[in-house]
């Protein structure tokens, strides 16, 4: 066997350039999987570190029953024997932040408090000092840096819906906000300030133990004395660590999903490469068989070759993965994930890299290897240099046809019975069916367009078309990989774009005035209305309130009807002419409309019937005769004192609604694009191998007068044909899938209609064509460099 292994390794090395392209596919797949692992390992480490740091200095944490309105918890904890110090703590997750000049700091900010007692502070200040007296705050360094805030600056801070207060920035801390809830600042306040801002008692008290008592002992005593849950330090850390690891795992699973996709694409490319390479090595294989190599030995040596390519690809992939793991946080920070992660390379990652790289290469080579080594020894003596492709078998046609028809029926059915599951099943079935049918269908489609294209492009194009389909199976496999990649990207883009379109409509429906004032936090302070009323440049503001009325058990919404009347939903229990009690007032019902358990009132009536209704947004028009620009300026001035309130015009609002979606879309598209890139490598691969195979033929074409330029054009055309075929079929498939998916979620006339993002699809096509042209450069150079006379004269 040693001799055969040596031969295999030698053959692999001799075919290095050919192997390189297929290993490139392995490299990308492995790189993505490893990069994801290294990044999420780093993420887990960072999140665990944060989770642990959060409980630094805390010996016991006491949590009160949420429903208990208990201001004295901290005092009662302090009286427990063994408690040296205790402090009530709040964490307010929706806080507005602005400079005193009214510049708003965007994001979902979190406010927490610290005790003035350093032994109870889980973190300290890296610059300046921790807040000591009322009116002092500390911010996280990152926000301060990003928004150019300095120690000594004056800040406006308000709890959501509350009035803002003015604070002085006295220090910066390296601690950060929990990143799961989205990007934002960490605001550290004194206990007194946060208690006032929160307006409700703390349900958490942190404890510093006196000497001579263990955390667990003390927790037990506190729990017994106060009846509240008390958790000792180690348990707190354990819980937080578990949660952090769980979060990182979720993230890892999502990333690995994309990784698997890339690996799947690589499998297509590898399988195709081995099919082609083995077809070209038929005579060599036959010679080995003739000299007494058993079929199993040949198969084993091909698989060994695959394993060697796999090991090489894995090793390079691992290196590329390291680079990628540093790049991933930058990409992902766009969707709010933290960028503060140092990737971790573990032994597990290296093993996974090898297992994935070698596994996928060997497994994908298995089928082509079985087929390619079924060579008869006599073929070594025959003259046929190139194997004739086997036509697709009858069972394959039948299975492919049936699956495709079933899948189509599933896709169509999903829009009728509104089943998303059916749409997904239909998608999987139709793709499988098409993959089976493609060696028949794809060349057929190409023959259809052959005549018109040949008429336009002449003999060169005609020859390119014929060359492309001369081995239908090879052509189909190449375009299939691309088709699957494009279908993924296309479907995703179509669905996302279709979901985006309603944002425009939502903006239209929401905005009845020139400007909309609202908040990322959902609620704005009522005092804002007075501030707007004080501006002569603005017409009377129309507020929108929202709340739940305990009296009637109905949701209260703002309606446009005249004051003093109510509109109700049909299930509210009253009809036109009846009276309904909402809050402290009673209104006659003027009409009944759709919806569930809702009553609509005029804004003034809501204010009259409720003490503190939630103000969700305000519509504002310029005063008559005031230009929009001036009105906007006045509006911004009025809003300066309200950190959470933001003004939008129509376009800004639609954009705002889409912002989150768009960021997510871009990241997912980027991750999916990897699949398309690998598929395009497959196109380059097939073309390169075909050129090697047709060296003699191309020399013959040159001999009979095909210029170098024309030969180049011919090969470029062939590449473009492969790329366009895969892309167009993929786009068509994604339109069908998107139509079905959108149809399946349509209920009661409400739904999303398909919006085709022509610009994005156009970009996709252009990219595919350009990539194909690029892919043809190297093979074409190889083809034209071949000396015509020698090649023709040489026995192959």
């Amino acid at each position: 066997m040693t001799g055969l292994i040596g031969l295999t390794l030698r053959t692999t090395r001799a075919n290095l350039t050919r192997s390189l392209l297929s290993s490139l596919a392995v490299v990308l797949g492995v790189a993505f999987v490893c990069g994801s692992l290294m990044f999420t390992d780093g993420l887990a480490a960072a999140m665990t570190g944060r989770a642990v740091a959060q409980y630094h200095n805390i010996d016991v944490e006491v949590t009160a029953e949420p429903a208990r309105d208990d201001n004295g918890l901290a005092d009662r904890v302090r009286r427990v024997d063994g408690v040296r110090a205790a402090e009530a703590t709040w964490s307010l997750p929706f806080v507005g932040l602005a400079t005193a000049q009214g510049r708003k700091i965007r994001g979902t900010h979190e406010a927490v408090n610290v005790s003035p007692d350093p032994a109870l502070q889980p973190f300290g200040a890296s610059r300046g000092r921790m807040p000591a007296t009322a009116g002092e705050v500390v911010l996280d360094q990152h926000t301060a840096e990003q928004d150019r805030l300095r120690v000594g600056d004056r800040l406006l801070i308000s709890n959501f819906g509350g009035e803002p207060g003015t604070y002085t920035l006295v220090g910066l801390t390296p601690a950060t906000k929990d990143t799961v809830g989205g990007a934002g600042a960490l605001i550290v306040m004194t206990t007194g300030d946060i208690a006032a801002m929160a307006g409700y008692p703390a349900n958490t008290v942190i404890v510093d133990a006196a000497g001579g008592v263990t955390d667990a002992e003390l927790a037990g005593r506190i729990a017994a004395a106060t009846g509240s849950e008390a958790v000792p330090h180690d348990e707190l850390v354990r819980r937080a660590t578990d949660a952090a690891v769980g979060d990182a795992d979720t993230f890892r699973t999502a990333l690995l999903g994309f990784g698997m996709l890339a690996v799947g694409m690589a499998a297509f490319v590898i399988a195709n490469t081995f099919t082609i390479v083995l077809a070209q090595r038929t005579r060599e294989t036959a010679l080995l068989r003739l000299l007494g190599t058993t079929r199993r030995q040949v198969l084993r040596s091909v698989l060994l070759e695959a394993a060697v390519i796999g090991v090489g690809g894995s090793a390079i992939g691992l290196v590329v993965g390291v680079l990628l793991s540093y790049g991933l946080p930058v990409t992902l920070s766009a969707v709010g994930a933290t960028a503060d992660v140092s990737p971790v390379i573990s032994v597990r990652t290296v093993l996974v890299a090898l297992a994935v790289g070698v596994g996928v290469t060997v497994l994908s080579a298995l089928l082509p290897a079985r087929r390619g080594t079924r060579v008869l020894p006599v073929e070594a003596l025959s003259d046929a240099a190139v194997q004739v492709a086997r036509p697709a078998g009858r069972p394959r046609r039948a299975a492919g046809g049936t699956l495709t028809a079933t899948g189509l029926a599933g896709l169509a059915g999903a829009t009728v019975v509104h089943s998303t599951g059916l749409a997904i099943a239909g998608t999987l079935i139709i793709v499988t069916g098409f993959l089976l049918l493609s060696p028949i269908v794809v060349p057929f489609l190409l023959r259809l367009v052959h005549r018109p294209l040949a008429a336009m492009g002449g003999a060169t194009v005609s020859l390119a078309l014929l060359n492309a389909v001369r081995n239908p199976r090879r052509f189909a496999t190449t375009t299939n990989a691309l088709m699957v990649g494009v279908t993924l990207v296309g479907t995703f883009t179509l669905l996302a774009h279709s979901a985006e379109a309603p944002a425009q409509r939502r903006a239209d429906a929401k905005m009845s005035a020139a400007f909309l004032v609202t908040s990322d936090l959902g609620v704005i302070p009522p005092a804002l209305l007075d501030a707007l009323a004080a501006r002569p440049q603005l017409a009377a503001a129309r507020p929108t309130y929202e709340l739940f009325d305990d009296t009637s058990g109905l949701e209260v919404r703002t309606g446009g009807q005249p004051a003093g009347t109510a509109v109700v939903s049909a299930d509210a229990g009253t009809t036109t002419g009846d009276k309904i009690k909402v809050g402290t007032r009673t209104f006659p019902v003027s009409s009944v409309t759709g919806g569930t358990k809702t009553v609509w009132l005029n804004p003034a009536d809501i204010r009259a019937a409720f003490e503190t209704p939630f103000l969700t947004d305000v519509q504002v028009d310029p005063a008559p005769g005031v230009p929009a620009k001036n009105a906007r300026a006045a509006l911004e001035t009025a809003l300066a004192g309200f950190p959470t309130a933001i003004a939008y015009d129509h376009d800004e609002y639609a954009k705002h609604l889409n912002a989150q979606l768009n960021r997510g879309l871009d990241v997912v598209t980027a991750l999916l694009a990897l699949a398309v890139i690998i598929a395009l490598i497959g196109v380059a691969n097939t073309l390169t191998l075909s050129v090697v195979e047709r060296t003699r033929e191309n020399a013959l074409l040159r001999a009979v007068g095909l210029t170098r330029r024309r030969l180049r054009i011919m090969l470029a055309t062939e590449a473009v044909i492969m790329a366009l075929t895969g892309t167009l079929i993929g786009v068509a498939a994604s339109v069908a899938i998107a139509l079905s998916a959108l149809g399946s979620i349509k209920t009661e006339g409400e739904g999303i209609s398909l919006a085709v993002p022509w610009d994005r699809l156009g970009v996709l096509l252009v990219v595919a064509v350009l990539a194909a042209l690029a892919a043809s450069i190297v093979p074409a150079r190889r083809a034209i460099r071949v000396p015509v006379a020698e090649t023709l004269a040489a026995e192959q």
């Binding site: 001799g3 090395r13 010679l287 000299l291 007494g292 058993t294 079929r295 006599v378 003596l381």
Partner: protein, 239 residues
């Protein structure tokens, strides 16, 4: 006992109306330790005969024996091992693996079997084909004649029961061709090998101890140590 026997050997390609009978009941014995040639016009079935004799193709009916072994009853696996251990091949072209050196090509059958070479035999074979100083060259660095000499050495390295040569001089100039035929002649005379060569080259056949003629898939006649003129005359007659 003959080294190689064909008994009632027939081979039909295809079936029904398109069936082509390549061999039609051929009975030939090839004695051990002699240099045989098989000749005949194009389409006479000489290549098919060789494929069947070497176990590369299965006859439609009839039997092929290499010493005791009945090739037609062997499984593909056994047949492969039989070729590996007991049959040598020299072809017109595409003889060598391009990635291996001359030495590795010669040792390939042993490498496939996972067997250590017998150094003495290796030296003797290499010396007899005159390649001692070219062993570390790749096929692309050797002339056509040298490549064919490597192929002869490879065919002899296992001390096979039979060496098959398929037009071994077809691709060579006359001087190189003569050298290769000399080697095969020596393999028979000096090393006691049995060689069966398919050829249409009169001068090549003239090196042989016995020349068998086929026509239309049947055994026609045989000549013992004929001259080129005798061969030419017989060929003319059997055409």
């Amino acid at each position: 006992m003959p080294a190689l026997r064909a008994i009632g050997l027939s081979k039909v390609y295809g079936s029904g109306e398109t069936a082509v009978t390549a061999l039609n009941g051929v009975d030939i014995d090839f004695a051990a330790g002699r240099f045989h040639a098989v000749m005949g016009a194009s389409g006479s079935g000489k290549s098919t005969l060789m494929h069947c004799l070497a176990g590369l193709d299965r006859p439609t009916s009839g039997t092929v024996r290499i010493f005791d072994a009945d090739l037609t009853t062997l499984t593909d696996e056994k047949l492969t091992l039989m070729r590996r251990d007991h049959v040598g091949f020299v072809f017109q072209r595409f003889n060598l693996l391009p990635v291996l050196t001359a030495r590795e090509n010669i040792l390939l059958p042993l490498a496939i079997a996972g067997r250590r070479p017998d150094q003495q035999w290796f030296d003797r074979v290499v010396a007899s084909v005159g390649l001692t100083d070219r062993l570390d060259h790749r096929p692309s660095e050797l002339s056509g004649g040298q490549q064919q000499r490597v192929a002869v050495a490879r065919a002899l390295i296992t001390r096979p029961w039979v060496v098959f040569a398929d037009e071994p001089t077809g691709n060579l100039d006359s001087r190189s061709g003569a050298e290769v035929l000399g080697l095969l002649r020596d393999a028979v005379s000096a090393l006691g090998q049995t060689v069966v060569m398919v050829t249409h080259d009169l001068r090549a056949a003239a090196y042989c101890d016995r020349v068998v003629f086929l026509s239309d898939g049947r055994y026609d006649t045989a000549l013992e140590s004929p001259s080129a003129d005798e061969i030419a005359a017989t060929l003319e007659r059997t055409r």
